[in-house]
Structure formats: structure tokens, C-alpha cells
Amino acid sequence: MTVPLGAFIAVSAVLFFLGAAGVLIRRNAVVILMCVELMLNASNLALVAFSRRAGQLGAGNPLDQRGSVFVVFVFVIAAAEVAVGLAIILAAYRNRPTVNVDEIHEMKG
């Protein structure tokens, strides 16, 4: 017996919606960043699960290569995004010590 594809997809959907809800509800910039990472990892889980399904439909490899390679690239992009995001949050924090996105609102109109 193996875990069916649907189970993986269900978990990834739950993770994705948790992340999306977090982005919309939480006001702490760092927490929002973490929620975005959760969404990216939900996509990774879905990609790996689909990659296994595509591999089983095809011949040979247990995993379809394109889906797995996609995951590797997403990892690297996520790391770059975190690095830049934290730097931006830190620069804002140095000028005014808050990470609450509702308080960072000077421009109007």
C-alpha cells in the first residue's frame, strides 16, 4: 500500500491556505514572510507529489525529472527572497522600530 496522491495534494492545499490566511491576517512583517515561505513549500510538496505521479505514468524513473528540478529552483529562489526580504524589513526597522505593517503607512492617497 502506498499513500495516495490525493493525500499529498490535500496536505499541500491545507498548507497553502494556512500560509495565504496568515499573509492576510497577521500584521507582523516577519510572520508574513514566514507564511509566504509556507505557501512556497506547499507548492513544493505538490510538485514532488505530481512529479511522482508523472513518473509512474511514464517509464523508467520513479520521479518525473522536470517537477523535481522545479523544486530545486524554488528552494534557491525562496532563499534569495528571504535574504532580500529580511534586509528590507531590517532597513525599515532601523528607521523606526516596528515590524507591524499597519504602522508602516506614511504615504496616503
Binding site: 499513500v3 528552494f75 532563499a79
Partner: protein
């Protein structure tokens, strides 16, 4: 090949054995070791720095730069692993490609170094 659920059973068994081993040893030491507590002994670090404040305190953000550089240069490994596995079949062109890739990262590191980012204040 073992059944799928059986492998979960193995994991669970490992968990039980591990947890039992640790609690068993700790309990044993409590049972047989002499206990004479003193103020000096019950501090967090018996002969080190006095702990001050909460663990939620703020850290100097210089550390953050190093953490960040670590993250950036750490994820390159994810490309190095598949490359290393296929090293022989990729041949010389694979070696050159990876050299170029690393070189681009080194340019970034060199820039950070010249711009005094790496200086420890």
C-alpha cells in the same frame, strides 16, 4: 520488501526504544547518584557567565548579516549535490559550468568584502 505500514511500525518502534532508553538512563542516575544541591550548583551554568534577562532579548543586527550571507551561500549546495552525483558523466563541460557558477557567487562575496560588509565591529 516490507509492507508500507510496517515501515511506519519500525519508526514507531525506534521512537519507543529511544524514548525508553533516555528516560531509563536518566531515572537510573537519579536513583543511584547522590544528590547534594547547593546554590552554586543549581545555576544554569555552573561556572560560566551569569544568565541575564530573557532569551527573547534582541541581538545585535551585525549577526544578521552573517546569517544572511550564510543562507545565500548555503543554498548553492543544493545545485552542487546533483552535480556531484553526476560528476563523471558530465565530464569537463560540467566542471567548467560549475566553476562559472561558483565564480559568479565569488564576485558577490568579493563585492561584500570590499564594501566592508564582512568587518566584525
Amino acid at each position: 520488501m516490507p509492507d508500507y505500514n510496517l515501515s511506519y511500525f519500525y519508526v514507531f518502534a525506534f521512537f519507543l526504544v529511544g524514548a525508553g532508553f533516555v528516560t531509563g538512563l536518566l531515572g537510573l542516575s537519579r536513583f543511584i547518584a547522590p544528590r547534594k544541591p547547593s546554590i552554586e550548583k543549581s545555576r544554569t551554568y555552573e561556572s560560566g557567565e551569569e544568565p541575564v534577562g530573557q532569551a527573547w532579548g534582541r541581538y545585535p543586527s551585525h549577526f544578521y548579516i552573517f546569517a544572511l550571507l550564510f543562507v545565500v551561500f548555503d543554498v548553492e549546495v543544493i545545485f552542487l549535490f546533483p552535480w556531484a552525483v553526476l560528476f563523471r558523466s558530465l565530464g569537463w563541460s560540467g566542471l567548467i559550468e560549475m566553476a562559472v557558477f561558483i565564480l559568479i557567487l565569488v564576485v558577490g562575496l568579493f563585492y561584500a568584502w570590499r564594501k566592508q560588509v564582512l568587518r566584525w565591529y
